[in-house]
Assembly symmetry: C2
Homo-oligomer: 229 residues x 2
DNA sequence: ACAAAAGTGTTTAAGGTACACCCATGT
DNA sequence: ACATGGGTGTACCTTAAACACTTTTGT
């Protein structure tokens, strides 16, 4: 006897994306204004529905691309939100994903999307449904992940200064860090490449630019190194 | 205009449970032998389908109870597994949960369930579909969680010895720990209640029994304490 | 008396934290 | 010459890790 699942309930599976960016000062999230009922006019995460012929990662990437033009960024599945009445229109389970994008690099794509807007994380408006809870999960995960994996670089330009990196971590962790201790720690990890080039925008003296050396990092990981910041 | 979702695809949402236990020596997982095709006769996680009128936590609890008679144990949502062809019968997305149960306390309920069997974590058979990947996720999460939250106690009897607690952590972390360092660390956390009572089963001298003092732990957490083992 | 597990502290190494001044440059 | 951000090192303290012997009691 072959089991079949005909008698089981089927549901709609939504994917909602918490999109983080960083603008040299603040951690930001990208929101859209809903242009349909219910909750028309309120701000919301970017979302869509899983299709029959794709897996969740593909759906999250498709939805992100469809709503922002952005492709190929760091995304991670977070958690499911499944309260029976969470969506007033119809029973829907939502899978939250979060994404890290470099705002500067993707400014172009985004200006074409009129309803999307960056908000400072701390000043974001209230969101529809249970989207605020999703954001809370996401920031929590982001803090953990950036402390144990070198994914913070996804939010920075390819070349960045120590100062930018420190400000990024301060924004994510919502805490001030000591400049010397931070640099000592980063340097002790030995996963950055210091360039000869300087960034002259932020000061007269100029500050050296660095790049994340992914090859070196991977080699160290294979040798048992563990990232911890 | 009210949006409706009629044109969207619906899917089956399964819930699969990784059930951990501990028997004084080894970490164990509870598996069932499938009695239907496909993969009849192979071992599998306990699973079922989400129903229309319940959320995922409720579904996970219902499924666990239905297949084992067990209620009211620690459960946590893990991750979704959504490859398009992961289930050969029909497109199914599976939400993995893991549960922690005290084997001794629930021995009765389980003996009545003939197809369920405890396996040492390290000696478990190969599982159907992507269940082995689910188990990998679960052990990883369990290691992290037991290092940062006092949930290990869920796997022990209410009263336990330091030795049992140490063996539990050794089993979860798959590593030997130093007895003196372990006890010093636990004591420094100051979240256990030492009883006057001794357990006389494991030695002639007998060893003191302890309980997790949840009230004390919660008070300490409220005061900014953070558990780390 | 001996076997078997329980219980107990100290020393050392490593990592984390706090902290203040000089440098280079454009205006 | 001065204002602005960049860059650098050390002392102290806390936490982690290594390590061995005595106690109790049933047989």
């Amino acid at each position: 006897m072959i089991h079949n699942y005909n008698s089981e309930d089927k549901v709609l599976l939504a994917v909602d994306c918490i999109i983080f960016g960083f603008d040299e000062e603040d951690l930001k999230i990208l929101l859209v204004k809903r242009d349909f009922e219910p909750e028309r006019g309120k701000w919301s995460l970017m979302g869509g529905f899983l299709k029959r012929n794709e897996d969740l990662d593909q759906a999250a990437n498709r939805i992100l691309h469809h709503l922002t033009g952005i492709n190929n960024v760091y995304m991670e599945q977070l958690y499911n939100f499944s309260k029976v009445d969470r969506d007033p229109v119809e029973r829907t389970i939502s899978v939250a994903y979060y994404a890290l994008i470099n705002i500067a690099e993707h400014k172009q794509e985004l200006t074409e999307n009129y309803s999307a807007k960056w908000f400072s994380f701390s000043e974001a408006p209230q969101l529809i449904f249970d989207h605020d809870r999703m954001v809370q999960h996401a920031i929590h995960r982001l803090r953990y992940r950036t402390s144990t994996k070198p994914i913070g670089f996804e939010l920075l330009p390819e070349k960045f200064t120590m100062r930018q990196l420190q400000k990024l971590y301060e924004a994510i962790l919502n805490d001030k860090l000591d400049k010397r201790n931070f640099i000592n720690k980063i340097n002790s990890l030995d996963i950055l490449l210091k360039l000869d080039e300087k960034d002259m925008n932020s000061s007269r003296k100029g500050s050296f630019l660095y790049m994340f050396d992914e090859a070196k990092y991977k080699k160290k990981i294979a040798d048992g190194f563990s990232f911890r910041l």
